[in-house]
Symmetry: C2
Subunit: 259 residues, 2 copies
DNA sequence: CGTCAAGTTGAAACAGGTCAAATACCGTGG
DNA sequence: CCACGGTATTTGACCTGTTTCAACTTGACG
């Protein structure tokens, strides 16, 4: 019953008990495990299923012929890989585990059934897909316009808020199970510079980062320093509105703030 | 009847005469015009229609509070803006005309009808949406990993090939109706550096660029120099396969090459 | 307690940015 | 057909954020 995807989708819409059951079942279908650094799927492969991340982190990435690697996006628990990939013949990028990971494979047929019989879920999955696209656009802005300092800060804001949405934060802290090399590959910087920039963020008291444990003492301060604007995560939605109307706080953390 | 969107979608699938008629009608619905630099829709607006670009170029962009601007993607004729935006409450970015432009507004209802009655079109629109997402990912790689030289070269390859797909190239030439400032905002470089880099591309004979007229004497050479890999455009598809089988060349240019 | 990956540091080099001015281009009105 | 004004392109000199390279330290884990 308890399922991070449900948490996330309820940011957007209110799901019925039946809807939730359907999603819970889906997460119990073909469950797979991978070790850190193993791929879930590789560039060139024919996509067959949609992957739902249950535990651990993964990422999309692409490697250029000369070895340069760009991490294109991060997947955290509750994230769905690519809702409609089947339409394409071959993957144009790989998806790799960053930590040991468990995920559920959802077949094309299962998904088709859900989408024809459960309009509420369908709409919520749509929303999730559009938010994913918005995140990708924001990464374009991040890489194109922000300085190293802002860029890293922005990434940390985004990840913290996404984790909050599925209930994986504890107060102002969360796990950040990635290496500095991976942060470098995601931000288009070198490891060395990521290291120095993290020190700068720490020096200004914007983050605390020991090992894989991240604390953001003042999220608003970090957002300001990183030129971060929440709106691209599209959290201000019906789910929230319903919560407010019912005076019924969502079980998971909230994306939006204030009015 | 003649419609650039049809050209593009036929890269992916074979459309029936009726399908084509439906698409042609759509392009004749609510046609609008905008001057260069005018916005089609602005960040914060509620999205109501899907825009189909008929003539001229546009772009998605985002402006940071301090004025930095990132162009997130280019739209060329035949491009569809955002197939499912209605799900979102507000735009998280703006879409602006780069040249004088004409576009058709497609209503939510029209689109719903098409998608429930024309599975072939639906699937083709899916494909288009997924290719758009793949392009956005490739931009992430471009901004994160490629040097200024490769980055500009890569962008020019992509645009040339996309124009080819809708039949807007003449041999190895096409129009490139954007300013160096706009190329700079798209690549995350400064105008000055774009200017110098374009001179470098010209100097190596990889492009000719007078005014708004671009020639790519040897596309493969430009691709190699730019670490460009066609596969993210997902052109190797059913439409092509059918063409090959029938020995019936597509009316528009082709994305894929060789076998 | 050894080993291997991850994180940290310093010095030097460079890609790309900044600033500011010059030149070319283009549509408009006289 | 030319002069004008505004925008786009080009150039030069200088500056800086980020990279490179290479070594050193710390930490996790069997």
């Amino acid at each position: 019953m308890h399922n991070l995807l449900i948490n996330k989708l309820e940011q957007f819409t209110r799901l019925s008990a039946e809807d939730k059951q359907v999603l819970a079942d889906v997460a119990q279908g073909r469950v797979r495990v991978r070790g850190a650094r193993e791929d879930l799927i590789r560039e060139g492969d024919k996509p067959t299923d949609v992957n739902l991340i249950l535990e651990g982190w993964a990422c999309r990435y692409k490697i250029l012929p000369d070895g340069r690697r760009q991490i294109i996006s991060f997947f955290v628990p509750g994230d769905l890989c690519d809702l409609h990939v089947f339409v394409l013949r071959a993957m144009d990028h790989s998806i790799g585990a960053l930590t040991p990971i468990t995920f559920a494979e959802i077949s094309r047929e299962t998904l088709r059934d859900i989408m024809s019989n459960h309009p509420r879920i369908t709409e919520a999955l749509w929303w999730d897909t559009l938010v994913t696209a918005a995140i990708q656009r924001e990464w374009t802005v991040n890489l194109g316009q922000r300085s190293a300092f802002e860029r890293l800060g922005h990434l940390l804001c985004e990840l913290f808020i996404r984790l909050q949405a599925v209930g994986l934060t504890q107060g102002n802290a969360c796990e950040l199970p990635v290496t500095q090399t991976e942060l470098a590959d995601a931000t288009g910087l070198t490891t060395v510079h990521v290291n120095r920039t993290l020190q700068e963020l720490r020096g200004k008291g914007l983050i605390k980062l020991h090992g894989k444990h991240l604390t953001v003492p003042d999220l608003e301060a970090l957002e300001t320093a990183s030129v971060f604007n929440l709106s691209y995560l599209h959290a201000d939605h019906e789910g929230r509105a319903l919560d407010a109307r019912n005076g019924e706080a969502g079980s998971a953390g909230q994306w939006s703030r204030g009015a």
